[in-house]
């Protein structure tokens, strides 16, 4: 079982809504990640936080806003999304630095209507 917990498991939102995805880990990891995965495709990196600071933003549109309030929590704030943003959003964590195993949560299925 994964030790990265994501909520909610499913979310349906309208294009004018504001919602958030939440992620929590208690493995003492200091790196946390958001990935996006469309059906039948591999996950694609969106953001990386290292020691609670944003270290990588893969040119993600500003309608996705990440937040890392502390070393255990990672949020993804969603606003004015498009139907094409519907996907599985995966949170992950690892020890900070290079070459570490990255552990994923079960994901949040997002549908934008």
């Amino acid at each position: 079982d994964t030790e990265v917990t994501q909520t909610p498991k499913h979310l349906v939102m309208g294009m004018t809504n504001k919602k958030s995805l939440k992620c929590e880990q208690h493995m003492g990891h200091r790196a946390m990640y958001w990935y996006k995965q469309k059906a039948k495709k591999p996950p694609e990196l969106m953001f990386v936080y290292s020691y609670e600071k944003l270290s990588i933003n893969e040119s993600v549109p500003s309608r996705f806003s990440p937040e890392c309030p502390n070393s255990s929590l990672l949020n993804l704030h969603l606003h004015a999304l498009q139907p094409e943003d519907s996907a599985l959003y995966l949170c992950a964590s690892s020890r900070a630095g290079r070459g570490n195993t990255i552990y994923f949560g079960e994901g949040s299925w997002l549908t934008v209507v």
């Binding site: 994964t2 990265v4 994501q6 790196a31 990640y33 495709k41 591999p42 996950p43 694609e44 990196l45 990386v48 290292s50 270290s55 990588i56 599985l88 995966l90 992950a92 690892s94 900070a96 630095g97 290079r98 070459g99 570490n100 195993t101 990255i102 552990y103 994923f104 949560g105 079960e106 994901g107 299925w109």
Partner: protein, 113 residues
């Protein structure tokens, strides 16, 4: 562009048979990780192999890495119906910032009882 490419894209075998999946990549790497994903679920980490390692085992899994050919293989021995899933390789490229994994396209494995 995708760092990792996998073949075959789909593989169907009978229970008890061995399954081999291959992954090729383009640039120098620090390590390569293999993940399993059951339909609609998160990614489960299987094995991490570092660039200075050639082979690793974990239970029924055997991973090889050939950095001269920029390729890796995942062998699942004595497969079970429960092994049915998508399998992804993911590379931590040397030139990338820490924590950035790039996934291959994945192999869909179907194990028939």
């Amino acid at each position: 562009s995708q760092q990792g490419e996998e073949d075959p894209q789909a593989l169907s075998i009978q229970e008890g048979e061995n399954a081999t999946m291959n992954c090729s990549y383009k640039t120098s790497i620090n390590n390569l990780q293999w993940y399993r994903q059951n339909s609609g679920r998160g990614l489960v980490h299987l094995i991490l192999i570092r660039s200075n390692e050639r082979e690793k085992h974990s239970g029924r899994l055997r991973v090889t890495l050939d950095t001269s050919k920029k390729s890796s293989s995942l062998l699942i021995t004595a497969s079970r119906a429960a092994d049915t899933a998508s399998y992804f390789c993911a590379t931590d490229a040397s030139k990338n910032q820490g924590g950035k994994l790039i996934f291959g396209q994945g192999t869909e494995l179907s194990v028939k009882p």
